[in-house]
């Protein structure tokens, strides 16, 4: 087989994306626990860990640019290298939103009248499954799994709408609860955005596999 160096570089690039995915998975698991328990110290840790994901994003971007400059990838290789450059941006955004949610978790621990919205846990779980399946579909080069993720985005959007309504109703009935409800409103917006970014990643994985670009959200 020819192009040993390039194939080695592609393998390493793939490994780094998977490493970034593992770090993201940990942040998401932590943020779910911190959100449920309103754990300020875990939230602080998530914010700190975000730097590692940022660093990895920049490293992967530099590797992609170097490969384009030195190896002139074409066909599947081209789709893979360019898509990875897009994918890591979305991975980094999802991780950013873990940190953003963590900031609000810390705020919530200092607020009174804190009542978690009813379907928050379900919304979190669907978003989490989307991110996990996205990472799996990248690792396994599984287009069907990527399409499952894309299909789930509407579920998260629906949760966002219903939980917004629920929070509005709480605020209308209880002025004291408004600050905490605003925090939750921000949190569900971030959760909804995280699902959008997972969908973007799934669309790029689909592009790597089929060469077809899906009109995204």
């Amino acid at each position: 087989m020819t192009r040993h160096l390039f194939m080695q570089e592609l393998r390493e690039l793939n490994q780094n994306v998977i490493r970034m995915g593992s770090l993201l998975e940990k942040s998401i698991n932590d943020v779910i626990v911190a959100l449920e328990k309103l754990d300020a110290s875990l939230a602080t840790e998530i914010i700190k860990n975000d730097d590692a994901i940022d660093d990895l994003e920049h490293q992967i971007e530099r590797e992609c640019i170097a490969m384009i400059a030195k190896q002139q990838p074409l066909a599947t290789d081209l789709r893979k290298v360019t898509s990875i450059m897009k994918i890591v941006t979305d991975v980094e955004r999802i991780a950013d939103h873990c940190a953003d949610i963590s900031e609000y978790i810390i705020v919530l621990t200092k607020q009174s009248n804190v009542i978690a919205p009813k379907n928050l846990k379900e919304m979190v779980n669907v978003m989490k499954s989307m991110v996990i399946e996205t990472i799996d579909s990248f690792v396994e080069v599984d287009g069907a799994k990527a399409n499952q993720v894309i299909a789930k985005d509407d579920i998260v959007d629906n949760y966002f709408a219903s939980i917004s309504n629920e929070l509005t109703e709480i605020m209308q009935g209880n002025k004291e609860a408004i600050p905490a409800c605003v925090s939750y409103l921000m949190i569900i917006k971030y959760l909804e955005r995280m699902a959008d970014h997972a969908t973007n990643i799934a669309e790029w994985i689909e592009y790597i596999i089929t060469g077809t670009m899906i009109e995204g959200n």
Binding site: M1, T2, R3, L74, A75, T76, T210
Partner: protein, 252 residues
């Protein structure tokens, strides 16, 4: 759509004796486009290029079946070779200017076709050298031997010589493989400019060159066209695994 087809190739087979070098080639080559032929050495791409202006006819033992129509006319039956070659010019891998002045190189074809008047020849020479993007570099040394200028300039003089007989089609057989990167890009820019007036077919081993300048790309392997399509599709998302393996450089 049909009117935009310059060459219609149907079931073309070519044999060198017992060896079949081209197998059932079917292809429509479009007017005013650049079509690139890519593929490993010995895949048949240059052989196919040469069938388009019948340069294989001279080789002993060559047999050709199938048809090539240019503007609806069968080039193996209904047109004589001299006429065909004045309409379908060719530029080769090694610049091959004749051992004579730059002026005489470019005027060679028109003179053969009977043009004797100096003012008319002057006009053709200047126009052809301008079209080949070399006029400014050689206008003060038209009497200089064409073999005494740089390789890149020689190749553009050869292109001017091709243009001087007023062809409709320019065949280029690896026209830049002997040139440095700057000369290569000049030839590529030139091809891009010329395609408004001419139909250009280029054989190249340089994949980046095919992807940079061509509208359509055909991938040849073992005498067959494995895939033929829009260049952006071929290089971004080829349909055939063999094309993918070739353009991504995976062999063995």
């Amino acid at each position: 759509m049909e009117n935009n087809v310059k060459f219609q190739v149907r079931d073309l087979d070519l044999y060198y004796g017992d060896f079949q070098a081209l197998k059932k080639i079917n292809m429509d080559i479009m007017k005013n486009q650049i079509t690139a032929f890519i593929g490993p050495s010995g895949c048949g791409k240059s052989t196919f290029l040469k069938t388009i202006n019948r340069m294989n006819d001279l080789i002993e033992g060559v047999r050709i079946d199938g048809t090539i129509h240019m503007d609806g006319v069968n080039i193996y039956k209904d047109i004589d070779v001299i006429n065909l070659r004045s309409r379908v010019g060719m530029v080769f891998q090694q610049p091959n200017p004749f051992p004579m002045s730059i002026y005489d190189n470019v005027a060679y074809g028109p003179r053969i076709h009977g043009i004797k008047k100096k003012s008319q020849l002057d006009e053709i020479v200047e126009k052809s050298l301008r079209q080949a993007a070399i006029w400014e570099e050689v206008k003060d040394k038209l009497k200089k031997n064409a073999q005494a200028v740089s390789g890149g300039q020689q190749q553009r003089i050869c292109i001017a010589r091709t243009l001087a007989v007023g062809p409709e089609v320019i065949l280029m057989d690896e026209p830049t493989s002997a040139l440095d990167p700057i000369s290569t890009l000049k030839i590529e820019d030139l091809a891009e400019e010329l395609k408004d007036k001419y139909t250009i077919i280029i054989v190249t081993h340089n994949m980046q060159q095919a992807s940079r300048i061509s509208d359509k790309t055909a991938f040849f392997l073992h005498g067959e066209v494995v895939e033929y399509g829009e260049t952006s599709q071929i290089f971004n998302n080829p349909k055939e695994q063999k094309t993918e393996d070739y353009i991504t450089g995976r062999f063995g």
